[in-house]
């Protein structure tokens, strides 16, 4: 499946390279032809496959939910509306459970995170070679179909959540209150001199824990999906190693895919729940 001319490591590397668009070393704009060229393009390059699939899946999600919202009825709901209502009520319940303040943006944020991440993760269940092979016929050499295995996607969302956290922290508590949370906790002292010494220690601790939130959010999703994808790729290599191992690989892939359904849902749910909890922390005074 990987093509007879490819070795295993080349096959894996091929699968882990994004379709990168950027500036070549010679100054011309274009698509990178291999992983090294993509890396050399530096920051000012863009992953076309990640952008395409995430936009496509996000568009799918928004299209169907918008359709349900446009034809929404308070009477007997149809199938699509029923499905959307089921998800929305599930999200609403989660938000009510974890978020104690009032903010209209949190629930739509949670809904977007959950459904979008779920759909992006779901791409992992498409057999690893199907879409890249079709893309290959169309002349596209690299195609990474699972956007959540691209740290750019997960960090993009985590930074979005982090930005909202900072914004609402400062909006609710004021800049002073936000800085106070960073510097006067967890150690406090009555003596002003001791307090002055404690401030840098507090700041170090609190700043690290603040920064850890978006990073852990992004890396957890990325790590899980990347590892899952990697296992699918490794299983796919077995198809080239004879009939017995190939059949064994088929069974393994089925088993892993079934198990992976749990993981993709769980990761989407964890990301959503943590985002809600972080937003709640941003809104609550200590």
């Amino acid at each position: 499946m990987a093509g007879d001319t490819l070795t295993s490591s080349e096959y894996i590397r091929h699968h882990l390279t994004n379709l990168t668009f950027g500036q070549h070393a010679d100054g011309s704009l274009g698509i990178a032809h291999d992983a090294a060229e993509a890396a050399q393009m530096g920051f000012w390059a863009i992953h076309l496959d990640t952008m395409f699939w995430s936009f496509f899946l996000g568009g799918l999600f928004l299209y169907y939910f918008k359709k349900a919202a446009d034809t929404v009825t308070t009477g007997v709901p149809g199938g699509l509306q029923n499905f959307c209502e089921w998800i929305i009520e599930f999200i609403d319940e989660s938000v009510r459970g974890s978020f104690t303040s009032k903010n209209v943006i949190v629930a739509p944020l949670a809904l977007t995170i959950f459904v979008w991440i779920f759909l992006m993760n779901l791409m992992d269940l498409v057999p690893v070679d199907v879409i890249p092979t079709i893309a290959g016929w169309l002349g596209i050499h690299f195609m990474k179909v699972v956007p959540s295995t691209d740290p750019n996607a997960t960090f993009g969302m985590a930074i979005g959540v982090f930005g909202l956290m900072l914004f609402y922290s400062i909006k609710v508590k004021g800049f002073g209150g936000f800085m106070g949370e960073l510097t006067f906790m967890p150690f406090q002292a009555k003596n002003p001199v001791v307090q002055a010494i404690l401030i840098p220690i507090n700041f170090l601790l609190e700043f690290v824990s603040l920064i850890a939130k978006p990073i852990s959010l992004a890396l957890r999703l990325f790590g899980n999906m990347y590892a899952g994808e990697m296992i699918f790729i490794l299983i796919a290599i077995m198809y080239n190693a004879g009939a017995v191992l190939g059949l064994f690989g088929g069974a393994l892939q089925l088993g892993w895919a079934i198990f992976h359904i749990l993981i993709i849902t769980l990761q989407a749910f964890i990301f959503m729940t943590l985002a809600i909890v972080y937003m709640d922390m941003a809104h609550s005074e200590h």
């Binding site: 390059a45 863009i46 939910f65 918008k66």
Partner: protein, 156 residues
Amino acid sequence: MNINLTLFGQLFSFGLFVWFTLKYVWTPMMGALEERRTGIADSLSAAEKGKHDEVLAKQHAKEILLEAKNQASEIKAQGEKRASEIVDEAKDEARTEGERLLTAARAEIDQEVNRAREQLREQVATLAITGAERILQREIDAAAHKDVVDSVANQI
């Protein structure tokens, strides 16, 4: 696995999606859900109220029935009373009418008696005169003794 411009592309699309969801998905859907919830709550309370009303209506109906029964028996009693009154009145009337008829009959009888007596008197007078004439034809001049005969006849 390079961090690059894709990060901002994703950040931007994330923001766009959240905004879109908030504006076009969440708000209308939650509105509909809320509306349905209040609708269901309203119909439940309406059903509860209907049940309550039914109980009240049944009670009311019972009261009306009872009242109607009472009225009916009252009307019946009144009717009976009136009927006996009418019968009594009729008896009284019949009695007075009977008396009146009796009186009238008596008066008529008296009249008849009087008339008969008058006729009798005239006939007796005539008979007496005729008898007297027959007796006196031989001895008395009718013309000469007319005043005597008339005075006698008048005494009857």
